[in-house]
């Protein structure tokens, strides 16, 4: 990184006497302006029957949200800087880190505790029911099926993604068309799971045998002389596989990019040595490249496992959890939103948290080692 010496004179805040009063007036003016800006913006944007056209409201919302935050930081910093040096030293970290801590505590820490608490209460949170919700989670047919499906997702989805990612990264590394091939495989990573869901729902579309099949898969299948299949509904539980394919399609690019970067880092002399010893390309890949990039494989696998545990959008778009395809996250959503069963929904969320706990502990351990 090329660092150029910044013009330090610019940082010199020593003001000539008399300018201090002006500084104070400016600052207080700034505080008042900020408050007015925040309140006025809130009032305008909160008006749901506003006559202002949509594009203008959008622009206004963006300016208000972004500008308001910058103003809050600047103003609170200014206030703290007016305080005596000692007070400033204590309060300044609060200005810098305080907002982040408030967000983290309110949106992640407190909710975890509150959800944990709610999970011991009944549907509307009135009566304490002990472990009843958890017992239901682990005995109810619907949730058990969701767990089984999530296991399928983990076993098939995660491993297929890693294998395809490795295969493509390995092939691309030996090809002249590396850049374009990687772009093509990588592109689905940018689009939403909802969009991907619709793309594949169209591939799987099924119609009555008397009409032409407009879904690609059934057109091929019928072309081979079979009758059309409802890929997403028939042959349970194998229909889950066709949902999993969508996420493999979407995630392989992610795995490939990380593997590709790691493969480029494998020392060339290591590869040459193996080749001299008579190993063919596949043996070299399996015995040298794969073990060398194992840390990356573990990272990618962990990320995909966590992602897969929470899989939601794809199932909603493709089957809405019907035909025995529900997963933990859709069960959570059903209990929480459709059945308004807050206790049971909370218990499912806690189970999800428990499942990622090992990764959390692993991350913390690594963090501790880095600090030591």
């Amino acid at each position: 990184m090329a660092l150029t010496e910044p013009p330090l004179a610019a940082f010199n805040d020593e003001a000539p006497p008399g300018a201090r009063a002006r500084n104070l007036a400016l600052g207080i003016g700034g505080v008042i302006l900020t408050v007015v800006f925040l309140v006025a913006g809130y009032v305008i944007l909160a008006d749901k029957a506003s006559p202002i056209p949509k594009p203008l409201i959008t622009l206004l919302a963006i300016i208000w949200g972004v500008g308001g935050l910058l103003a809050i930081f600047t103003v609170s910093n200014w206030i703290v800087e007016q305080l005596p040096a000692r007070a400033m030293q204590i309060l300044l970290p609060a200005v810098f880190i305080g907002p982040a801590v408030i967000f983290l505590v309110y949106f992640l820490v407190l909710p975890s505790i509150r959800t944990f608490w709610t999970s011991f209460f009944d549907q509307d949170g009135a009566a304490f029911v002990g472990l009843a919700n958890y017992i239901r989670v682990f005995t109810d047919d619907a949730t058990l099926l969701a767990f089984r499906n999530n296991l399928l997702w983990l076993a098939i989805g995660a491993s297929l993604t890693v294998i395809m990612g490795l295969l493509i990264a390995g092939l691309a590394d030996r090809s002249r068309f590396e850049a374009i091939a990687k772009s093509i495989i990588f592109m689905p990573v940018a689009i939403s799971l909802v969009g991907a869901g619709i793309i594949w729902k169209f591939v799987y579309a099924v119609r009555d045998p008397s009409s032409p099949q407009i879904g690609l898969l059934n057109a091929i299948w019928v072309g081979l002389g079979h009758s059309p299949i409802g890929w997403l509904a028939d042959n349970q539980p194998f229909n889950n596989f066709f949902l999993i394919v969508v996420v493999v399609w979407l995630q392989t690019g992610f795995a490939m990019v990380l593997f590709s970067a790691a493969i480029k880092g494998v020392p060339a002399d290591l590869l040459d040595a193996a080749r001299v010893d008579g190993a063919n390309e596949i043996q070299t890949f399996m015995r040298i490249v794969v073990p060398t990039i194992m840390p990356t494989i573990i990272t990618v696998t962990t990320t995909i496992v966590i992602f897969t545990l929470k899989i939601f959008d794809v199932v909603v778009v493709l089957t809405n959890g019907n035909f025995g395809t529900q997963v933990i996250a859709t069960e959570f959503y059903t209990q929480f939103f459709s059945n308004r069963s807050f206790g049971l929904g909370s218990a499912i969320a806690i189970v999800l948290l428990i499942m990622v706990l090992p990764v959390m502990i692993y991350n913390l351990r690594r963090f501790q080692q880095q600090q030591a």
Partner: protein, 364 residues
């Protein structure tokens, strides 16, 4: 050095790669092609039929023979068959096909011949309908007027922008300040706070939805941009701080110390040294978070799902898939509308995007 001939020849490598790339591309191509085909075409033939292929084309039309009754064979153009056979199409010895269209009394006869065709009737009407807020009336090829309910994705597009930009900039700003604080300020509880941050990296956000939604209902924040910005900020912050911290902490100490000795405040150092130097990492996170929020469905539907005016693209698209699941020409157009911004970001900023993704791979 003796080098063995590579077991995998370039042909095998490139061939396998080409097959995989083809499989990867085909679903998206099908989506794009279908989104610009007329509704009738989409429902009557697969999207691949726009490719050149041999198909029967009508060369001659005949009036139906009179007096057709029962299953008695009829002779048309020198070919004898039953009515039912003609209904399904009968191939004459010369390769022509004879097809009875319609019923026994009011139908007509088509004489068809196999020809090379590539029937692609390009149209943007699907996009007009799917973007439009109200009803959309248009003239059919026959001259009849037809009205369809719009998908309202135009306003959803604006909502997605109004949600995504602040939901990217706000966490970025909060995270940059916090990362500086963690890296260059000394205060009690710093390590404990940072450890907490690391723990929060993988927390499933489902856990936060129940209580936060309940609070929002009380605070009247449901169905507001502000509510969803704050939620996305909260959920995106652990990764944002973690990433930016990793970069900011590596900035040489001398640079900051000398500025401080010259009387610069932390705020000035942050604004004039840290932020300009951190542009690469800030850009990487911005792209990652932008796509994350733009593509998000769960958070959006939880906090905005109940209010029509503020629903973002993903919500509208899921609704469209639910209510008009067979209108493939609209669904495909709608899906492409939702993909256009991510694809632009992807192709224009691929390098930053990859960097953000590499860094973001720790996110849960």
């Amino acid at each position: 050095m003796p080098r063995r001939r590579r077991w995998l020849g370039p042909l095998a490598v490139n061939g396998t790669l080409a097959v995989i790339c083809f499989i990867w591309l085909v679903p998206t191509i099908g989506l794009l092609v279908s989104s610009v085909r007329p509704a009738a075409d989409v429902l009557n033939s697969g999207w691949w039929s726009v490719l050149p292929h041999q198909d029967y084309v009508m060369t001659k039309e005949l009036p139906i023979p009179t007096g057709v009754t029962g299953d008695a064979p009829i002779t048309i153009e020198g070919v004898s068959a039953t009515f039912d056979a003609f209904r399904g199409g009968v191939t004459a010895p010369d390769g022509r096909r004879i097809l009875w269209v319609g019923n026994r009394r009011t139908g007509r006869i088509e004489i068809q011949q196999k020809q090379w065709v590539a029937p692609f009737n390009f149209t943007l009407r699907n996009y007009q309908i799917v973007l439009s807020g109200g009803d959309k009336t248009y003239e059919n090829t026959g001259g009849t007027l037809r009205t369809e309910r719009g998908g309202d994705l135009g306003s959803a597009f604006m909502n997605s922008i109004a949600v995504t930009i602040p939901a990217t900039v706000i966490p970025l700003t909060v995270a940059a300040f916090a990362a500086y604080g963690f890296a260059w300020m000394r205060f009690r509880g710093r390590m404990a706070l940072f450890a907490l941050l690391v723990a929060l990296l993988v927390i499933p956000l489902q856990i936060a939805l129940v209580p936060v939604l309940r609070d929002y209902t009380g605070l009247d924040l449901n169905g507001t941009y502000l509510g969803v910005w704050l939620a996305h900020t909260g959920f995106g912050l652990p990764l944002a701080i973690y990433l930016v911290f990793g970069f900011v902490a590596e900035i040489p100490r001398d640079l900051i110390d000398s500025a401080v000795t010259d009387g610069a405040s932390h705020f000035a150092v942050f604004r004039r040294i840290i932020v300009p130097l951190s542009v690469p990492v800030l850009a990487s996170f911005a792209i990652f978070q932008f796509l994350w929020v733009w593509n998000d469905y769960l958070v959006a539907t939880t906090f905005l799902g109940g209010t029509q005016d503020v629903q973002v693209l993903t919500i509208k698209l899921v609704n469209l898939a639910g209510t008009r699941g067979q209108d493939w020409q609209l669904l495909t157009a709608g899906a492409f509308v939702s993909m256009i911004i991510p694809l632009i970001v992807f192709f224009a900023l691929q390098r930053y995007f990859v960097r953000g993704l590499l860094a973001g791979s720790v996110k849960g």
